[in-house]
Chain length 367, copies 2
DNA sequence: TTGAAAGCGCTAACAT
DNA sequence: ATGTTAGCGCTTTCAA
């Protein structure tokens, strides 16, 4: 196959121009404005470029001059590699990639290790704007993004940042709907499994004080939806045990379910703030002979394919659309004057993991 | 939350220096070499920067000067968004992201629409090197990458490009192993489902002429492994029907299986060059009451999680490691003089979809 | 249609 | 410890 010198760069636009005895402008035009010079001259330039191994205008130098990098930066809450394991993040990425692709923009994944609070990666990123995917309010990387003089779009969280567009769903309304679904079935004793609430690892019960402290607005909002829904039937939030998990994995969900059910064996419905956690809970139930939904109702949030396959009762949200809208919002050449907020619809999906609690089964059968 | 002017950039390193009455070097050092100036002075600089809304050195200008972009470009064979749907690609990306993350390098997804042969995106990419994931030999984007004066690492294909590192597996040996597994079970009548062989859409039988034309070395090599394995028991390649599908989806696999089985109802083993195609074939078989493995043996290649769950007999390859090694190969500061080639191990996974053909069942039972 | 001049914003020698 | 001097490679008015 063809071989080329992949090592040094001797040739530059200026050297090429000198070699040809034309001006730098002409060479530049040969690449960027073919209509600004005669076809034969252009051919001569391109031929000489090939001969000298000139790879065309240096992208970085051009970016400096034109003040556009041709790429969008993506800031994720977790380690970069996590994004490819989590089905929700993957869906978001697919949508975002689609939008970038259509606009001919690159997508730069900014390397952030949540451990190291090293913000330099954000400063290094040669991008025309940032998409921020679901990071906590006080994330230093996010703060660094805000410093950058480029437009920013947030997906999900943080919420209410001045001058920043946002795409998300109505988490509170969605969870309120879920709560009503469950109370409508007759459930009154609930348990809740939620994702991490702070930057610091904590696994176990999360009391109201801790819930109030969360730096993840989405978790706060989902819990608020539940609280309000339960309140409608007289279940006070104080009596609902909430367990938190730092890791967002099926294993973590299973462990949390085990823990919560051990402490509160009387609950009839286990509400999870994500499908992954719910799938973990489901696995725990199956492995321990706990009938779902006969003995225990389990619900999730997100509507990932695995959940659908498992028949999980959940809230489906358009993750792919979120990514696409985020990209469009950022790349849209339009009115940047006032920040925009896009709220996408959700849908309650009643699967096979929710049902009236056992006591009512008996009640109804005795009828 | 904090608000900042996300619109204009009035402040620059030079203007800050002027404002403070110090040299540009000093301001630069304040950011890049804190040990090169007194702490108080540095504090003064940083304070002034905050006050004037100076976001720190412009990354593009710095890149131009330092000649490094701090990012790796990724070239994919398919549309960008496809990468997030295909489990093999996702695994690769996870590994690559991991390597980038560890090296503090960004990962730039280069937007290529396979339809438009528009190569500008490759020229625009401000990166220090490229990782090329499984593209065809004559891909114009790949050719454009080779022009760029930066190091390049290829995963899987193309093969044997001068001056380019590569990571892959021994596809021929792996498929040879699969062939022997099947011939060892007693199979003699095979059908093969393979992925696209050329840039142009073709769905249906692929005769030897077409197979020879392929611009995808991996497909060629996998078929060669089968051919050699079958030859060992006297099955000539000419008598093995090979069907090709352009799309790489479960639906495509199902359609291809239907087509091939209709034309060759006598085959006892259907070998697929990917798990996705095999899962499609499996679905077809299940839906049409064809017993697997009793009436038909089906095998795949890759070892994706879905395949494992389905009990597919397949070749497991370390897709995540491929990504990680590709990244390390590229980012490694070491010896760039001679191109390196890394071949990762594969493993034949015998699942529940392969078994001796029916004729032999009878034969053995009669024994 | 082509060329000359003027930077884009920054860093790295090399002084001091 | 701080400043001076040169560019990195390119695009873009503006003039010829």
């Amino acid at each position: 196959m063809s071989g080329a010198p992949h090592t040094r760069r001797p040739a530059t636009l200026a050297s090429l121009a000198a070699e040809l005895g034309v001006s730098r402008t002409t060479v530049s035009n040969a690449y960027n404005r073919p209509d600004q010079l005669s076809a034969p001259l252009r051919a001569r330039v391109l031929e000489a470029a090939r001969r000298l191994g000139y790879p065309g205008p240096d992208p970085v130098a051009r970016s400096l001059r034109t003040r556009r990098a041709g790429a969008v930066g993506l800031l994720l809450t977790e380690a970069l590699s996590y994004a490819f394991r989590d089905p929700v993040a993957t869906g978001f990425l697919e949508g975002l990639a689609l939008a970038c692709e259509q606009a001919g923009q690159g997508l730069l994944l900014v390397p952030v290790s949540p451990e190291h609070a090293d913000v330099t990666a954000v400063h290094q990123a040669g991008v025309d704007g940032f998409v921020v995917y679901s990071v906590r309010e006080d994330d230093p990387h996010f703060l660094a993004v805000l410093q950058r003089p480029v437009p920013t779009v947030v997906c999900d969280q943080p919420i209410g940042v001045e001058g920043v567009d946002r795409v998300g769903v109505d988490d509170r309304a969605a969870m309120l709907g879920m709560a009503r679904h469950l109370t409508g079935l007759g459930h009154r004793r609930f348990g809740v499994l939620c994702m991490r609430l702070t930057a610091h690892r904590h696994d176990g019960p999360a009391d109201e004080a801790r819930q109030a402290q969360t730096s993840y607005p989405v978790q706060r909002t989902r819990l608020a939806g539940l609280r309000d829904g339960f309140a409608e039937v007289g279940v006070t939030w104080a009596e609902v045990p909430v367990h938190e998990r730092f890791e967002h994995t099926i294993d973590a969900g299973a462990a949390a379910a085990a823990e919560l059910l051990a402490a509160h064996p009387d609950i009839t419905a286990l509400v999870c703030t994500s499908d992954i956690l719910a799938l973990g809970a489901l696995r725990y139930a199956v492995q321990h002979g706990l009938g779902v939904p006969e003995e225990l109702t389990i619900t999730g949030f997100d509507g990932v394919p695995e959940a659908e396959r498992a028949g999980l009762t959940t809230v489906r949200q358009p993750v792919r659309d979120k990514g696409q809208v985020a990209g469009e919002l950022l790349l849209e050449r339009g009115d940047r004057s006032k920040p925009r907020q896009v709220i996408l619809p959700t849908e309650l999906v009643v699967g096979t993991t929710s049902k009236a609690p056992r006591a009512l089964h008996r009640f109804f059968s005795g009828w």
